[in-house]
Symmetry: C2
Subunit: 126 residues, 2 copies
DNA sequence: TCTATTGTCCTAGTTCACTAGAACAATCTG
DNA sequence: CAGATTGTTCTAGTGAACTAGGACAATAGA
C-alpha cells in the first residue's frame, strides 16, 4: 500500500503532489496493475487534505488512463508507466546508490545532487 | 548570465521556478558571489511573467541571504550554496553522465531516472 | 434485503499566485 | 547636472487551489 506524504506550504498544489507520488510508485514498481490505491477517505485522514482535492488528483490519473475508479470498491491501478522491470531497475539502482555515496562523501548535499542530475539530463551546459 | 525558463501551466508558481533556477545555478557554479542576476525588466521581457512575480522571487532570495538588491545597479549574488568546487563537481558529473547513459540505453525515461534518484536519496524502501 | 464502504457531486467561501499598469526612488553614465 | 537604468511600491482585479460540509449513488458483504 502506498503512503502519501503531502507537504503543505511547499508551494505546489496538493493534488499534483498526490498524482506525482502515484506515478512515481508506478514507475518504481511499487504499484502495479490491479493494485488498489488508498481510499479517498483514507488519504483525507492521513494527509489532511480535502476530499475534493484527493478526488481531483485521482480524476486526473483516471483521465491519463493510469487508474480506474470503481464506485463502492475503490480506485485501482490500470496502466503501466516506465520500464519498471525489477531485473532492469535493480542493477541500475545499485549503480546509482554507489554514485550517490561517492557524491555525498565528497560533500554534496541532496540539492546539489538533484541540480547535477538535472544538468546532465538536460544535456550538459545548454 | 543565467537564462530563465519559466514553464507556465506546469502547475507550480513562477516565482518558485525562478528562485529554484537561481539556487541551482549557484550550486552548479554558474552563478558566483558578485555575479549579477538578470534585470527584473529583462526577466519580464524574456519569460513573460509579471514584474511583481520576478520581484517576489528575488525578494525571497534576498531574505535567504543569497542575493543582494542594489537599486539602480541590479541584483547581485551574495552568498554561496553547496560545495560547487569544479574540481569536485567535474569528476562526479562525469560519473553520473556515464550512469545516465547506461540507464537510458536500458530504456529508462527521464521520469524513471528522477524517481529512482528520489528513492535512493530517501534511503531505499523507506 | 440491509448495512457499511466507496466514489461522486454540489454549493459556498477563503486564500493566494499572478496580472496589469502606473508611479516613485536610488544609482550609474555621460 | 541630465537622462537612462534599476529596484521598489501601490492599487485593483482575476483565476485557481483549497476548504467545509453535506448529500447522493453504486458496490461488496452479511
Amino acid at each position: 500500500m502506498v503512503e502519501f506524504h503531502v507537504d503543505r506550504g511547499s508551494g505546489f498544489p496538493a493534488y499534483l503532489q498526490l498524482g506525482q507520488q502515484v506515478r512515481e510508485a508506478m514507475r518504481l514498481g511499487w504499484l502495479q496493475p490491479g493494485d488498489r490505491l488508498p481510499t479517498v477517505r483514507d488519504v483525507v485522514a492521513t494527509s489532511g487534505v480535502n476530499a475534493n482535492t484527493v478526488l481531483k488528483a485521482y480524476r486526473e490519473l483516471e483521465l491519463a488512463g493510469l487508474v480506474e475508479a470503481r464506485q463502492g470498491s475503490g480506485t485501482f491501478v490500470k496502466g503501466t508507466l516506465g520500464s519498471a522491470a525489477p531485473e532492469v531497475l535493480d542493477p541500475l539502482r545499485e549503480g546509482l546508490a554507489k554514485w550517490v555515496a561517492e557524491a555525498r562523501s565528497a560533500g554534496l548535499e541532496d540539492e546539489d545532487i538533484y541540480a547535477l542530475l538535472r544538468e546532465v539530463l538536460s544535456g550538459g551546459a545548454q
